[in-house]
Amino acid sequence: MSGRQASVHAKWIIGQVIGTKMKKTAKVRVTRLVLDPYLLKYYNKRKTYFAHDALEQCTVGDVVLLKALPEKRSKHVKHELADIVYKVGQVVDPLTGKRVAGKQYLEPLTESTEDAEVSLTEKLGQLNITASAPPSPS
């Protein structure tokens, strides 16, 4: 036999968590696009995977990234949780880094301009620009 083979064909997969009732294990549903041979159209085909989640940080409905373990942890668990991509209810927009709900931002995109103006005038006042020449050291 030439070397050890990976435990699973798929190294990285993304799926949605459907169950967390097991201890330190998340049930993840993964959908792949499969071509119907007659219609020639792609449909989602579901498959459930079990993933090891050491810190029990998944809730039902999260979208998670799973990584294949080098060897099977138990009869069904062959993957571990690599990263929670979108946490349900607390989706963070990767482009801006702000929290988002559907089509709206929950956090304001820019800092409010009023504060910036006030602090600018305060800072100018503190500068104390005078026309008098400084005393020459001698």
Binding site: A10, I14, L33, D93, P94, K103
Partner: protein, 173 residues
């Protein structure tokens, strides 16, 4: 009788095989986030409608997932083998621009594709004969212009074995 659906050409093998994007080996997952309404997501919606089947046909081992109405702006996200993630903003872009961009960053270039096609051709020599599964022809009788199989068309008398044997016997005497 025309095909059913809005753009049924998307459901033809010829259209699927014309897909331009063949991903590099490191790309494992592709995720598309887009919105169902709004002008800024129009390009992304067209991309999902027209180009995703082509991409999946050419890359059967890449997992492609679509997410609708999760964020205000549309984007693509690729997950590579070494854990790296590539984020592509597609807000306001035309779907052809999106495919060109993706092809440039993560697709195999024309040269690489040609080299691969050439290597594949070299493996299968059309001059060889054998089972239909692996070769073009099984027997010389299948080639046009050659003697056809006697099971289909009887051989002319001069070519049959028993006539030749009889001739040989007569000439020996």
């Amino acid at each position: 009788m025309p095909m059913k659906g809005r753009f049924p050409i998307r459901r033809t093998l010829e259209y699927l095989q014309k897909g331009e994007i063949v991903f590099k080996k490191t790309v494992k997952i592709m995720t598309v986030n887009y919105n169902t309404h709004g002008d800024l997501s129009e390009g992304a919606r067209k991309f999902v409608f027209f180009n995703i089947p082509q991409i999946q046909y050419k890359n059967p081992w890449v997992q492609i997932m679509m997410f609708k109405n999760m964020t205000p702006s549309p984007f693509l996200r690729f997950y590579l083998d070494d854990g790296e993630q590539v984020l592509v903003d597609v807000e306001g872009k035309h779907h052809k621009e999106i495919t060109q961009h993706v092809r440039k960053i993560l697709g195999k270039s024309d040269k690489v594709l040609e080299a691969e096609a050439l290597a594949k051709m070299e493996l299968s020599n059309p001059a060889n004969f054998g089972p239909k599964k692996y070769f073009l022809r099984e027997c010389m009788s299948e080639v046009e212009g050659q003697v056809p199989h006697p099971g289909l068309v009887p051989l002319p008398k001069e070519m049959t074995g028993k006539y030749r044997a009889k001739l040989a016997a007569v000439s020996d005497d």
